[in-house]
């Protein structure tokens, strides 16, 4: 089995699907000849031609709108938004037009689009390159949101996303692109959308995380173990649909939980997850479910991001709060 970084696994997923389905097309700013600013599409234009993988003028709304128009024509567009902060320019096309094409047309058209975008802090990137905007997508009816945490899942989930007949917002953490290698099978395989994974078993507390925060949570769990606390860590992998079943099963065992997110604390993914826990598992809880998240400020790029983002020490502190409730 091949060893791949996450960015290689993502490229491999796109290559597999470009080869399998002639309707798959990839476009965005700089994705063609150069292969994208992170090289996610490197070599794909040379292999599949300019009709399949192409550069566009610099205009995010038009990239989104092009994807909607191409879906109406039967294509399966993979649209790259170069950095997450630029999705605001494309929000209408992503979250209004693509997300409601099926509803607006009474099911006549669908929008099998994957909007890929890098996001995520801790890399000292420029302003508006790293913000965690998954909460916006989660609040939007009609679009699915995926945040992989490792190369194996990234490839399997991206293949699932490309085959999905509804629009998907696929968020790739910058800090995971080349962080480590993983065993990734050659060729086709899928990881199902909407299925979380217990990545560490424990009986005392559940730590729910996604993306880079899964790794930060695992570090915190190792710290907690030193004090005899067995933390269970769940990698959500998909935020919409949310695998509440796996979360509830874990809480039945641990009776305590926290949610870790990179996005600002209020009204985000964690808030929604906690609301669903209340609806589904309130009688299994021994303590309120807490959030470990950055404060509600703008993202302070570079200078203080290391202390602004959740780290193992803060996760341990939050876990201790629910243990001592």
């Amino acid at each position: 089995m091949a060893q791949m970084t996450m960015i290689e696994a993502i490229k491999d997923a796109m290559r597999v699907e470009l080869k399998r389905d002639p309707n798959v097309v990839i476009f965005g700013e700089d994705v063609g000849h150069v292969g994208g600013v992170f090289r996610a599409t490197e070599g794909l234009q040379a292999e599949f031609g300019e009709n399949r993988v192409f550069d566009t003028p610099l205009a995010e709304s038009a990239i989104g709108g092009l994807a909607v128009g191409l879906s109406v024509q039967g294509f399966r567009p993979i649209a790259e938004i170069q950095f997450v902060g630029f999705i605001f320019e494309a929000l209408d096309q992503m979250f209004v037009q693509a997300a409601r094409l099926r509803y607006r047309s009474g099911g006549r058209y669908n929008a099998p689009i994957v909007f890929r975008t890098p996001f995520g802090g801790g890399v000292k990137a420029a302003e508006l390159h790293t913000d965690a905007l998954e909460g916006l997508a989660m609040q939007t009816p009609g679009i699915k949101t995926i945040v992989p945490s490792n190369p194996y899942d990234a490839k399997g989930l991206l293949i699932s996303a490309i085959r999905e007949n509804d629009p998907v917002f696929f968020m790739e953490h910058l800090n995971l692109y080349r962080a480590f290698r993983d065993e990734v099978p050659e060729g086709e395989y899928t990881v199902p959308i909407g299925k979380a994974k217990v990545v560490r078993e424990g009986k005392d507390v559940t730590i729910i995380a996604y993306g880079l925060m899964v790794h930060t949570a695992l570090k915190a769990a190792a710290e907690l173990e030193k004090n005899g606390v067995q933390a269970e860590v769940i990698d959500l992998r998909t935020l919409m649909p949310l695998d509440i079943e796996t979360i509830v099963e874990s809480i039945k065992k641990t009776n305590r939980a926290i949610v870790v997110q990179e996005a600002q604390k209020s009204a985000g993914a964690a808030a929604e997850i906690i609301a669903q826990i209340n609806e589904n598992a309130i009688l299994h809880l021994e303590a309120p479910v807490l959030r470990c998240a950055p404060p509600d400020t703008v993202y302070p790029f570079a200078q203080i991001e290391d202390v602004w983002l959740p780290n193992p020490a803060r996760i341990v502190k939050t876990v201790n709060q629910v243990l001592q409730f």
Binding site: V25, N51, T56, P57, A59, S61, A62, G64, G65, L66, A67, V68, G69, L70, S71, V72, Q73, G74, F75, D92, Q93, V96, Q97, R102, Y103, R104, S105, G106, G107, R108, Y109, N110, P141, G142, K144, E164, N165, D166, G194, M240, P241, L242, I244, E245, Q276
Partner: protein, 367 residues
């Protein structure tokens, strides 16, 4: 260069160095307000039956609009944007296309959809907020009216790219108004079309007002057609009260697009005789004099005079079409009213191909 059109981009070496310039544009006109042919070389090649069909559709559309306004007042329609005055741009532009071509409408452009094949009762259902209104029949190449003013410009651009990638010789037309030409999506769409040389027609129905904001406050550009220059596509201005001029301009743009010549921006100078929607008062921002002046350019009167002079149309024909249109509207509004209401569970199931578990759970509250 044909009369009334701009070649784009501006050729280097013309005019003054360092400064981009373009000449004033003259709207393409074929019929005078008296219905006389003033531009015979641009007269579209249409049979007598085709000419009568165009008149039929314009009179039908006017009558439908009259009835729709009444139905709206009775509470039998929901959102409705009146179309009277714009029959030449709406009916003419659609008539110039093939059935296999694609239409991306703005919120006022229901007539083009119906003449392209959307059943009238579905137009009424759409107005009443029923999602079956948007369930476009197989083989009818349209999207439903777009509410976000410029979004359809980009959808048309994507659909045009699809035709180009599939090597199909169809074209896409997108409609917006003078207000829509100020949206960012308008510029992004035109620029993409220029960059990829796409088979698209962007038709701006410049009716002088974006709700109440007059054209003079909309842009400092000489014309909306000039906006094609910067995108590197053709720009054309047409008398939007002259149906033959509209047909000629759209047909020409479609022919060029089909042959790989790229996109055209067409600005049709037109007027809506009624307010923007059912809920604004046009007397607050327009004068009686202005309305009277535009009434003299009425596209149905003008084309009617041309046809009458050729012995192809009479007042009796108009009366007959009006009766037919009234009967059709009555039949289709009845069908719309008798269509079973959409349901919340049905709505939930329309969000995704397969309804996810959380939505399944939410459905239970409505069953």
């Amino acid at each position: 260069m044909s009369k009334g059109s701009l070649d784009a981009p501006a050729k280097p070496g013309q005019a003054q160095a360092h400064e981009v310039r373009s000449e004033n544009v003259i709207p393409l006109q074929i019929l005078s307000p008296e219905g006389e042919v003033v531009n015979p070389e641009r007269l579209p090649d249409l049979s007598d039956d085709q000419l009568k069909e165009i008149m039929y559709r314009m009179v039908f559309t006017r009558t439908w609009d009259d009835r729709a306004v009444n139905l709206g007042r009775q509470g039998r329609l929901g959102f409705y944007a009146p179309v009277s005055g714009q029959e030449a741009t709406m009916v003419g532009s659609e008539y110039a296309l093939e059935k296999s071509d694609f239409i991306c409408p703005g919120y006022r452009d229901m007539p083009q959809l119906v003449w392209h094949g959307l059943p009238l009762y579905q137009a009424f259902l759409y107005s009443r907020g029923h999602q079956h209104g948007g369930q476009i029949p197989e083989g009818v190449n349209v999207l439903m009216p777009q509410i976000i003013i410029g979004a359809q410009i980009l959808h048309a651009t994507g659909i045009a790219m699809g035709y180009k990638l599939k090597n199909e010789k169809n074209v896409v037309i997108a409609y917006t108004g003078d207000g829509g030409s100020s949206e960012g999506d308008f510029y992004e769409g035109l620029n993409f079309a220029g960059s990829f040389k796409l088979p698209a027609i962007y038709f701006v129905q410049n009716n002088g007002y974006a709700i109440t904001t007059p054209y003079a406050k909309q842009t400092g550009a000489q014309s909306i057609a000039h906006k094609a220059l910067a995108a590197g596509i053709r720009g054309v201005q047409v008398d939007g009260m002259d149906v033959l001029a509209v047909i000629s301009a759209v047909k020409e743009a479609a022919d060029i697009a089909r042959e790989g010549g790229g996109a055209t921006l067409i600005e049709g100078l037109t007027y809506r005789f009624r307010p923007h929607s059912m809920s604004d008062d046009a007397t607050k921002y327009r004068t009686k004099d202005e309305e009277a002046e535009w009434a003299l350019k009425d596209p149905i009167v003008r084309f009617g005079k041309y046809l009458e002079a050729k012995g192809l149309w009479s007042e009796e024909d108009t009366a007959r079409v009006k009766e037919e249109a009234k009967a059709a509207v009555a039949e289709h509004i009845k069908k719309a009213e008798q269509t079973e209401k959409m349901t919340v569970p049905g709505l939930i199931d329309s969000m995704f191909e397969q309804t996810p578990p959380n939505l399944e759970q939410q459905k239970a509250d409505f069953q």
